[in-house]
């Protein structure tokens, strides 16, 4: 058993996540921070995020009507068609101009960034963990 554990730990050290896996983990972190479920239903229309499907076991990729949380890039989907309770925009411009998006996951100053609207947190009565506090604006 000890040998097995050593092998497993060595393998985890050697395992390198590529950008897509890291994106999947970030989405999962956000989803589990907001949705209190073991398996979270998510929807995305962002091409770079669609490819993360199947990479994280605790995320179930579903339709925009059945999703708990959505990561959206198109303005129309954010404002009109998506029924998810929590909407994250992947466009800073759409986030800034939306009343429905709770937060955004986007690039700013060449780095991936997360921001979450404090007014939406209050409205939805959500308290975030310590590690997410710095992203609230």
């Amino acid at each position: 058993m000890r040998i097995l554990l050593i092998i497993l730990l060595s393998l985890t050290y050697l395992f390198s996540f590529d950008a897509l896996h890291v994106k999947a983990q970030i989405i999962a972190k956000i989803a589990h921070e907001l949705v209190d479920k073991d398996i979270v239903n998510i929807y995305t229309d962002d091409e770079s995020l669609i490819k993360t499907k199947g990479l994280v076991p605790s995320l179930n990729y579903t339709t925009k009507k059945n999703a708990d949380i959505a990561f959206l890039t198109h303005k129309d989907t954010i404002e009109k068609t998506c029924k998810a309770k929590y909407i994250f925009s992947t466009s800073y411009y759409n986030y800034k101009t939306s009343k429905k998006a709770i937060g955004a996951f986007f690039w700013q100053k060449g780095r991936p960034n997360i921001i979450i609207k404090s007014s939406m947190l209050k409205k939805l009565n959500i308290k975030l963990s310590q590690s997410f506090q710095k992203y609230i604006e």
């Binding site: 983990q25 994280v56 800073y92 100053k109 780095r111």
Partner: protein, 636 residues
């Protein structure tokens, strides 16, 4: 099966156990823009990612030269960046070419982009790729020894309005601002900067030599999924340091210049068609007056010459560039076909020596280069890839310069298995002389001496090995053989000797975690110039060691670079350090020291009295001043 699931579960949990900050930092590294722009099959690449540049607080291309294997951070007699500077040898753009996105910065008379932009602010640059040796024709069609490809920041990765400013000793200051965003269907990036660069003065025979530079610089970009439009304007003036007088004693020596460039590029949605159109314009006026003569002019009475002490040279240069490529993919093979036309027009509006205008003597004023090229990339199996590139170019020269046709070929093999990659390339090509060499050769020989193209053969191989996810190792060997190399010795010649350059480099990176790392590079060039004297071999070697480390809100960078000296120049040791402090999410403060040991590589300059052959030497001039900068960056 049980074991497999257990492994997957542990792997996932390990990933999930990382906090959100670490994951975002990891994504910044792994999804860097360079992952989308670099072309691994094009050659041997060193990448300076956005995070690297941000942490180093690199503020000009010139500063980066210390970190590029095989290059020496040297300034020419006008105080401009030229890693290969030798007194009386013309700046050769064929050695180092500088591209911004897919647009080459080049002025046929002024020289390479490194001379134009070398010491200007580069806050608008996202990342930089350096291709060592001779890269694929898809990257550059005209010859190069090293190619610096800089990519600008882009709107959909910036989404910010940012202002930055810094001050340094000697009264240097600069400031910049940029605004960018991704809107509904397009994104934009706009940037403006002003730099007043003051350098240490150098005293020579009673004259004060200055390398100060001032400029205003603006850049704008508008892009969507398929099109990209860019415009760049640079208006500057520089003190021309040692100038061209016989004793290097300028009284008033400065250059004013204006550079404009605009380009349009298109890429089809399936990425199979790429097209670029580029137009660049440069006008500059160099004025020099000196206490020692700048030269002599023939006269009709004893002593049959007249010395002159002033010169005023005004030039205008145009570069039109068009390139189109089409790629077809059939099973495991891709075929790339391309066509390019580059038209260079250069005019001496004024060439006044001692008040007499000689501009009408300069009849050679244009070069038109047509190129066709193709690249076949065949994936033999899972591990092996073969690349064959062919190209032909016709150089149409104006006036009495001979036109020329040159051909080249490149065969590559890439082996990739798990964490090991081996790249090997065999190259043959002809390098046509640059317009400036052709121009002066024509004048000096009165049109009688026509230069041949240089012939180049190169064989190179590189091993890239990742023994674990946090260690990258690279080992590169190359042998380059030059025949008919062009050199200057009172006039231009094709060398009868064969010059052989053996180059070796070793690079390693060790990542402590997603933020901290240490980089090491060591390189060597052994040159055999084919002569029979004791001066036949020249060895150059150098390296650099850099540590990037974060402590709480402090981000530190320390780097020590070394290059060997020569008979009359000491070895160069350049120690740079930067500490950045993130005061808030909006405001970052930094302090940066350059050449803190004051032992960076120095240069010697020589000038010749054309009447008696007496040589004036100006020695031990530091290429980099010991400088401390304080700066801030505020994000609105």
């Amino acid at each position: 099966m049980y074991l497999f699931f257990l492994i997957m579960l542990v792997l996932f949990e390990i990933g999930f156990a990382k906090d959100i900050d670490s994951l975002l930092s990891e994504l910044a590294q792994k999804d860097d823009l360079s992952e989308y722009t670099k072309k691994d099959t094009a050659g041997f690449i060193t990448v300076f990612k956005r995070e690297d540049l941000d942490r180093m607080k690199i503020r000009s291309f010139g500063e980066l030269i210390d970190k590029i294997p095989f290059l020496r951070n040297k300034l020419d007699n006008l105080g401009l960046n030229d890693p290969y500077y030798q007194p009386y040898q013309i700046n050769n753009p064929a050695r180092i070419r500088l591209f911004i996105n897919d647009r080459e910065l080049l002025a046929p008379l002024f020289g390479s982009g490194l001379r134009i932009l070398g010491q200007l602010d580069i806050s608008y640059i996202d990342h930089i790729e350096v291709y060592h040796g001779i890269p694929s024709y898809d990257i550059a069609l005209e010859p190069s020894v090293a190619l610096i490809k800089a990519y600008t920041k882009i709107g959909n990765r910036e989404n910010t309005t940012t202002f930055g400013a810094s001050i340094g000793n000697n009264g240097t200051y600069d400031s910049y601002a940029y605004k960018s965003a991704k809107l509904k269907d397009y994104s934009y990036f706009s940037y403006i900067s002003r730099r007043d660069l003051k350098r240490d003065k150098v005293q020579n025979l009673g004259s004060e030599l200055s390398r100060d530079k001032k400029n205003m610089h603006a850049y704008g970009q508008l892009s969507n999924e398929t099109s990209n439009f860019e415009i760049q304007v640079l208006d500057g003036s520089l003190d021309s340091f040692a100038g061209s007088s016989w004793d290097m004693t300028p009284q008033n020596s400065d250059t004013d210049f204006l550079y404009l460039s605009s380009s349009y590029s298109f890429i089809s949605l399936d990425k199979s068609i790429k097209a670029t159109l580029n137009y660049s314009y440069l006008t500059d006026e160099k004025y020099e007056s000196s206490t020692s003569p700048l030269g002599y002019l023939p006269s009709g009475f004893f002593p049959f010459y007249t010395l002159y002490y002033t010169s005023r040279i005004n030039t205008t240069e145009h570069l039109f560039d068009a390139k189109i490529t089409k790629k077809y993919t059939v099973n495991n093979t891709s075929f790339l076909f391309g066509f390019s036309n580059r038209f260079k027009k250069f005019t001496f509006n004024k060439y006044e020596l001692g008040g007499v205008d000689f501009s009408s003597n300069y009849k050679y004023d244009s070069e038109d280069v047509f190129s066709v090229f193709s690249e076949i990339n065949h994936q033999l199996n899972k591990n092996n890839q073969i690349i064959l590139s062919l190209h032909g170019q016709k150089y149409f020269e104006s006036d009495r310069i001979d036109s020329n046709i040159v051909y080249g070929a490149r065969l590559g093999h890439i082996y990739q298995k798990e964490n090991l990659i081996q790249k090997s390339f065999l190259f043959y090509g002809k390098f046509h002389p640059t317009p400036l060499v052709l121009l002066y050769n024509d004048l000096l020989s009165n049109g009688l001496n026509q230069l041949d193209s240089e012939t180049v053969y190169a064989l190179s191989t590189q091993f890239l090995w990742r023994p674990s996810p946090n260690i990258d190792l690279s080992l590169l060997f190359a042998r380059t053989v030059y025949k008919d190399a062009i050199y200057f010795d009172h006039s231009y010649h094709n060398s009868k000797a064969t010059n052989i350059y053996d180059t070796i480099s070793f690079e390693s990176k060790y990542f402590f975690n997603s933020q901290d790392k240490i980089d090491l590079n060591i390189w060597s060039i052994i040159e055999d110039n084919g002569g029979i004297s004791s001066n036949r071999y020249h060895n150059q070697f150098g390296g650099s060691l850099s540590l990037y480390k974060k402590f709480f809100l402090f981000d530190t960078y320390n780097s020590l670079s070394y290059v060997n000296g020569s008979e009359d120049i000491d070895d160069g040791w350049n120690y740079n350090a930067t500490v950045s402090y993130e005061y808030s999410k909006q405001l970052t403060l930094f302090i940066k020291g350059k050449n803190l040991l004051n032992k960076a590589l120095k240069s010697n300059y020589r000038s010749v009295n054309l009447l008696n052959g007496q040589i004036t030497k100006l020695g031990d001039v530091s290429n980099i001043d010991r400088t401390v900068w304080f700066g801030l960056e505020y994000q609105f």
